[in-house]
Every structure is written in C-alpha cells, then in structure tokens.
Amino acid sequence: MSKIIALHSYKGGTGKTLLSLNLAAALAKLGKKVCVFDLDFRAPSLFSILKAENVEYWLNDYLNNSCDAEKVLIDLSSKVPGNGKFFAGLANPATEAIRDMSAKDRKWEMRALGRLLALRETLLEDQKFDYLFLDTSPGLQYSSINAIVAADFVVVVTTGDRSDVDGTKRMLQELYNLFEKKTGLVLNKVLDSSATAKKAEMSNKIKTVYHVPMLAIVPCFCEILRAEGNSIFIEDKPDHPFTKIITEMAKKIENNEVN
C-alpha cells in the first residue's frame, strides 16, 4: 500500500534527515519507487547531503503553485543499487528563499497543505510512487504540522535528552492525539543498547512514557558522525549495524507492521 510518511521531532538534531534519507534509500533498495522531500524550509539540508547540482525547481516552487510536482523531482536512482527508483524534492537553501518561506501567512499555509495533500493523487496514484517521505522542521512549525496532517504515518524521532523527552511527550499528547495520527517512535542516539534484554525493557518504558508504539531503537554510532553527513550512509556501509536497523525499519513499514 502506497503511503506518505512524515518524520518529525520536538527538538532539532535528533536525526530526522538521516533517518528519512536512509529509510527512503532502504525502501528503494527493496525495489520500491520512493521520493524524499525536504520540508525543513528554515534550515534546508538534503541539498548539501545529496550534492544536487543545477536544481531547476525547488519544493518551494511547488508549494508556491509555480510548478507541477513532477518538475521538483530529482532522479537519484543511480545512487541506489537494484531496480528501485529513488527521487528527491529539495528545499531551496538560498537565504532569500528561507526568508520568503518564514514570512508566509495562514492563507498560504492552507494552500500549501492542499498542495501536499494533492501529492497523493499526482505522485502516489498517477506516477505510481510507493512511498513519499516528508522530512520536516523540528517543533510546532506550520510546514511540519502541514506535513503531519498530510501524512498517513508519522515517525517521531527522539533522544534521551530530558528536554526532548518532556517536549516530545507534550507534543504527542497535545498535537498528535488531536489529529488522531498513526505514529511510531524512534529512539535515536541511545547509549549501551546492545543487550537485547535492555532493548525490551526500553521498549516497554517508551510505551508507558509516550503511549505510542516503538518503531526502533537506534544506538549512537561514531561512524555516522565520522561520515559527516556526506552521503547516504546505508549505501556507503551496507554491513554496518545502523544499515541493518534501517533495513528492518523499512521492512516493518513495507509489511505494514507499524500499527
């Protein structure tokens, strides 16, 4: 079943972009047609990671109603082995574009939501995409809430940081519950999570704290820091434990085991 999946978090730097890019790549590797969209208009990052050149149309243009969704798509299938198709839609990193996006009013945001919802027809139904990943800004930003509303499933990424835990809890109760969104939680950058017993304990703890199902526990890997966000990690290191976790997560999504 084709789907729109949003990745969101309360705080910044939790690993949303890393997870969305690698999850999307993992699903493409499984033979799916996937697109990842950078909806972090205040701090665009996919542009740098994917080293995109000569971008003609940005996601900004699509939301501004100045081009069709297809125009935004950049084919990166060559970066992923196998028969899968891998595309990206990028946020414009120019300062002027960032300033323009932060000055939008409610009417514009309402239309932007309409444009995001329209992707279901143009990309999922017409272009036969299997998955669209929406990488968002942290916190309660307009663009992020638009993405949450447009998505079928939301992956909330959190860390063990106290302020993150409290904020995420509040956000799940006061935002996600109101929208009745299907949500899965990823606990990222976890220390000492190698022991299986500890994982089960942690998973239970998460359920009692956040009241949402656990999607994955991702340990803190120095190799990820060392890669300096220069590539799609799972492609560079196919045998790394992080790649295995991401692949498992992708399979869970594919087999609809995320409820």
Binding site: K107, E109, M110, L113, Y142, L178, F179, E180
Partner: protein, 127 residues
Amino acid sequence: MIKDEILAKKPITILEKIEESLERLNEKMEVIIEIQKNGNDSQRSVAALPDASLDVMTLLSMPDHLRKTAMAICRCGRATAEEIAGQTSRARAVESAYLNQLVIMGYLKKERKGRKAYFYVDRETQG
C-alpha cells in the same frame, strides 16, 4: 400566474421540490440541534473571522467534534456529508450538521448540484 405555472407542472416535480426544501430545512435544524448539544464550545467557534482559513493551526484550535469533520474534508478537498460520514464513521446527519456549521464559520464553501450538496475547502481565493 405563478400558481398556474406550478399547477401545470407534473406532480412528481412538485414533490421533488418539497423533498428538497424539507432536506434543506432538516439540515438547518440539525445545525441548530448540534450547536445546542455542544454548548458553549461551538457557540464560541461560530464567531469566526471574515477571512477564516482552514489551516492546521485553526484545525488544532477547533473543538474535537468539528476537527474530525474538518480533517476529513481537508483530505478530500470536496465531498458530500455522506462521503465524510464514511470516513469518520459517524451518522450522515451529524456530518451534515458539522459541515454546515463549518460553512457558517467561514471555513468551508457549499455548492448544490441537483439534489446533492458538496462541501469544499476554498483554497483558491486570494487574500
């Protein structure tokens, strides 16, 4: 003169007109009933701004019963009360009342096509 014209029409047409009028009346009644049922919450939200827009922050600030309907219409873009009821698993009459309330609040537009009433989010109007 007008009376003669009406009498000249087939009885079935007249009955259809009566049915249509009754349906409209019924919808208005449903709105009144729902507004009363949901008490102050709804009454407060009826006082919408003239440039009301159905954006996500507005969705968040809505009372729960209306948000459910508003979310469904947001996803569809354009739908009848029956189609919305199919999504929310609530009765058609209830959805009709909520949709009409959202129209009064300025968040939705309503359009009649034959005997069906379509509700939609007006995302095109500039402003």
